[in-house]
């Protein structure tokens, strides 16, 4: 079982991201369970959502304690929430920032983990460019697909088409493709 925790703020599409990740996994024939942190979410307040992916039926309902991956949609949360709690040593971290991991003071922390498993992606900028709004969730999902290899870009696009229509869908697909390419190129 692969367990993903997504941190962000109300309004950034954190819950939507977890749901769409589960749809992408479902499109690949896998079992997936996405759920929010059940808070009374408000715009700007810290929000957490979870997604489990497995080849077998997922029965457990506990919140994700040990994470195989953490996606952080807002880097200001680094100072507010224990976003890396329970991250496995071989776990993945994808952070939304236009600054490098070193600039964010995460260089040493990343070095202590498996090489190439940490990535900083300017997802807000990608979102603004393609969707016209500072929503980083879809670019991060595509970036996560590239970083972890857990799901295919086509499945992320499938989940986008399941959720959105018309210009919103095509903008999100373009954003996903760019994010996927960026992460792939950097990890080559």
């Amino acid at each position: 079982m692969f367990q993903v925790r997504i941190h962000g703020r109300g309004g950034q599409g954190v819950v939507t991201a977890a749901e769409m990740l589960s749809i992408a996994a479902f499109e690949e024939g896998r079992h997936a369970q996405a759920f929010p942190s059940f808070g009374s979410e408000r715009t700007g307040a810290p929000v957490v959502a979870f997604c489990r992916i497995s080849d077998r039926e997922i029965r457990t309902r506990e919140p994700i304690v040990e994470a195989d991956a953490v996606i952080i949609q807002d880097p200001t949360l680094l100072h507010q929430i224990a976003v890396f709690a329970g991250l496995k040593p071989e776990g993945y971290v994808l952070l939304n920032s236009r600054h490098s991991l070193e600039e964010l003071g995460l260089g040493e922390f990343a070095d202590a983990h498996e090489k190439g498993h940490f990535f900083s992606l300017p997802a807000t900028e990608i979102g603004i460019r393609h969707i016209g709004r500072p929503i980083p969730n879809i670019p991060l999902l595509a970036g996560f697909a590239a970083l972890s290899g857990l799901i295919r870009l086509e499945s992320v696009i499938g989940a986008i088409n399941a959720r959105f229509k018309g210009k919103v869908a095509s903008g999100n697909i373009a954003a996903a493709e760019e994010a996927y390419r960026l992460v792939k190129e950097a990890s080559c």
Binding site: A18, E19, S22, I23, A25, F26, E27, H31, A32, Q33, A34, F35, P36, S37, F38, G39, S40, A45, P46, V48, I58, R59, T60, R61, E62, P63, I64, V65, A85, G86
Partner: protein, 417 residues
């Protein structure tokens, strides 16, 4: 058709497939997504004919459901928590009048302190209202129970609550097989009311009943639930033959053959418990699970025969009878009266407190060794409790309990794990 779908949306799809004719709705978390989705289906005429009535309160939601059902319409509503309490008088009336309304309860704690998260206090507070209560383990079962509930309710002319854990199920995206309209139509015949308000054949419903007849009317409500004990397994088995899936029934067992210790619970926590039981079985522990699907009627005989061959049982419940202990545990212990079993109660998950496998492992092992007190409060912060008790000893004006505990714990937002 297999879909990756939110629990609330899946339930809305299932309810729509049951062709309700009147849906009354008043929003309250965590139930709101269900009636919102149904509202969209009625507006787009995907669900037709159906009248969708926005009401001003939960009291009105149940009152309108009563009126609709009495007029011969298949009626549906959904609620949770304080919403269920607010409609309580009408809830009892629906059962007392024998009206087969189906209501989803997205189980949520009851305040004060105000809390929007999951436990079973709300529907269990309506234990004696005369409504049947069926608990879903996952979203597939929530879907399947709604279809079975309309059939059972209308056959017996008694209302049913389909209970699903708020947020944990209602807001979870998971794989659900949504049946086809043909399958549901083959299973669920059109509503044939036992009583109907019809201007061309006027009757009254809701007579004043004095001491000379009240007990008989009440007994008949009990008799209906005893009939349900017979019908629930039959309807589940008929469901399996139409839909090819096993869901519903009175109780379910998991790995209880040769089990010395059996964990008894209801709702979504069963999934987590099954995982722990598998892990413990791998280590050689003789442990199993008894799932209560039908809380009302309570299947005394089935619970007894499921537990009779174990040595001890632990009822893990998301509810608390303040001043007494467990609510579900009381019924389970009643079922095994005289059987000489050790019985334990664990109160867990109140107000959405997450239940972790890492907590269940030691709890189940303690039960196995018969080292538990009669009632355990899982993950209770004794330091916080004792600090407040001490404060109350020290100062008369100790202030509001909830605010004190929050302050002591330094809480600014809900914990996530």
């Amino acid at each position: 058709m297999l879909k990756q779908i939110e629990g609330s949306k899946a339930v809305a799809e299932a309810v729509a497939l049951c062709r309700p004719e009147v849906i009354c709705a008043y929003p309250i978390s965590p139930q709101t997504h269900i009636v919102e989705a149904l509202g969209e289906m009625v507006k787009s005429q995907r669900l037709s004919p159906c009248e969708y009535i926005n009401v001003e309160s939960e009291f009105a939601a149940m009152s309108v459901s009563i009126g609709a059902s009495a007029a011969g319409a298949r009626a549906y509503t959904a609620t949770a928590s304080q919403g269920l309490l607010f409609m309580t008088e009408a809830v009892y009336n629906a059962a007392g009048l024998g009206l087969p309304i189906v209501m989803t309860v997205a189980n949520r704690a009851i305040g004060a302190p105000i809390n929007i998260w999951n436990d079973h206090s709300d529907s269990l507070s309506q234990r004696d209202s005369g409504w049947m209560q069926l608990f879903a383990e996952n979203n597939q079962e929530a879907v399947d129970l709604h279809i079975q509930a309309f059939r059972l309710a209308e056959e017996l002319s008694m209302p049913i609550m389909v209970c699903m854990d708020g947020y944990i199920l209602t807001h979870a995206f998971e794989r659900v097989d949504i049946p086809s309209q043909e399958e549901v139509d083959a299973y669920l015949p059109p509503f044939e009311p036992r009583q109907v308000l019809d201007p061309s054949e006027p009757i009254t419903i809701g007579a004043m009943v004095g001491p000379e007849a009240f007990m008989e009317v009440k007994y008949l409500a009990h008799a209906k639930q005893m009939q349900a004990i017979e019908r629930i397994p039959e309807l589940a088995s008929e469901f399996r033959s139409v839909f090819g899936r096993e869901n519903g029934g009175l109780v379910r067992t998991y790995r209880v053959e040769d089990a010395e210790t059996v964990i008894v619970a209801m709702g979504s926590v069963i999934g987590t418990i099954k995982d722990v039981v598998d892990e413990m079985r791998d280590e050689g522990h003789r442990i199993g699970v008894l799932t209560i699907v039908s809380y009302r009627p309570f299947p005394l005989e089935q619970v007894r025969s499921a537990l009779l061959h174990c040595k001890r049982f632990l009822v893990l419940e998301k509810s608390l009878a303040v001043g007494m202990g467990g609510i579900l545990a009381t019924d389970v212990r009643m079922a095994v009266t005289g059987a000489g079993l050790m019985g334990y109660t664990a109160i867990a998950g109140l107000g959405g407190r997450p239940i972790f496998k890492s907590q269940l492992h030691p709890l189940f092992r303690q039960a196995e060794k018969e080292e538990l007190p009669p009632v355990t409060f899982l993950d209770l912060d004794w330091e916080a409790v004792n600090r407040q008790l001490e404060r109350e000893r020290q100062t008369r004006r100790s202030g509001p309990v909830a605010e004190n505990i929050l302050h002591d714990k330094g809480i600014v937002s809900a914990k996530f794990g």
